[in-house]
């Protein structure tokens, strides 16, 4: 087995990264389930002519997306090779 190059060095071991990915996946799934619930509730309200909840729900969904985006950014950061110490 050849020696790893400098580009192979990472902040965490793969086992550690696996645990982090599981944690991120759990959070993302919770947020996605919340968004699905919001979408079905708002669709029902829209079809029933209730306009008052549409925009607050859309903003909440956007906040969930931003949180998911932040977690995704960290996921990319995890895989980014770190300079060897």
């Amino acid at each position: 087995m050849s020696a790893p190059s400098k580009a192979d060095y990472r902040r965490f071991t793969r086992d550690q990264r696996m645990v982090i990915v599981y944690g991120i996946l759990c959070l993302v799934l919770i947020l996605v389930v919340l968004q699905i619930w919001l979408l079905t509730a708002i669709m029902n309200a829209f079809l029933g002519g209730d306009e008052s909840v549409i925009w607050p729900a859309a903003i909440t969904s956007l906040v969930c997306l931003l949180l998911n985006g932040g977690l995704l950014r960290y996921l990319y950061f995890l895989d980014k090779p770190q300079p060897a110490v």
Binding site: R14, L25, N44, A45, L47, G48, G49, E51, C64, L75
Partner: protein, 184 residues
């Protein structure tokens, strides 16, 4: 970083986790790095879920946009449905209001009483049929029932009431003046 950890990352482990010496010979010819495979699978699933999240957010804003368009259309114009003399007591008239693709049904429940509802079932948009004998509006697709007097669901899968068409009587004719969608 600990060099031992670095080496552990590069080990080629079998799915059952047992050491290489206990693995069948063919596995040496196909050295798949299972821990890496699992890691990549879960990482990519997480990325896909974020994409789903984006789709759901777009869906929310699409509903907001549709709501904006609906508000911009404003209140529908008044439309004549039928002459009173042409609608016998206990009979129904199907008409389209406010647009040509919005079927509605007018029911004359008594000599002086009329009700009108959107004809699309609030479950899956099947055409509903008034049943005056049982005092309900029946959806034949999934056996849904709405109360004839209020349009509220009484049985079956529908959860929302039928849209109610507001009516007015002028000069011996009956007119639709608006449509009211409801959640309860």
């Amino acid at each position: 970083m600990n060099p031992r950890n670095r080496e552990r990352d590069q080990l080629c482990l079998a799915p059952n986790g047992s050491p290489e010496s206990e693995q069948p010979a063919w596995r040496k010819d196909f050295p798949i790095d299972w821990p890496q495979d699992h890691y990549v699978a879960r990482r990519d699933f997480t990325k896909f879920m974020v994409l789903v999240s984006l789709g759901l957010t777009i869906g929310q804003f699409w509903i907001g946009f549709q709501n904006f368009l609906r508000k911009r259309r404003g209140k529908p114009a008044m439309m004549k449905i039928a002459q009173l003399s042409n609608v016998a007591s206990g009979s129904t008239v199907v008409f389209h209001y406010p647009a040509a693709h919005d079927p509605c049904v007018l029911v004359r429940t008594g000599p002086e009483t009329f009700v009108a509802y959107g004809q699309k079932c609030t479950h899956l948009s099947c055409a509903v049929v008034p049943d005056l004998k049982s005092d309900c509006i029946h959806c034949p697709c999934h056996e849904g029932c709405f109360d004839l007097k209020s349009g509220r669901p009484t049985a079956g899968p529908p959860r929302r009431p039928l849209p109610i068409v507001t009516l007015t009587i002028r000069s011996g004719a009956i007119y639709a003046t608006g449509i009211q969608e409801r959640t309860t």
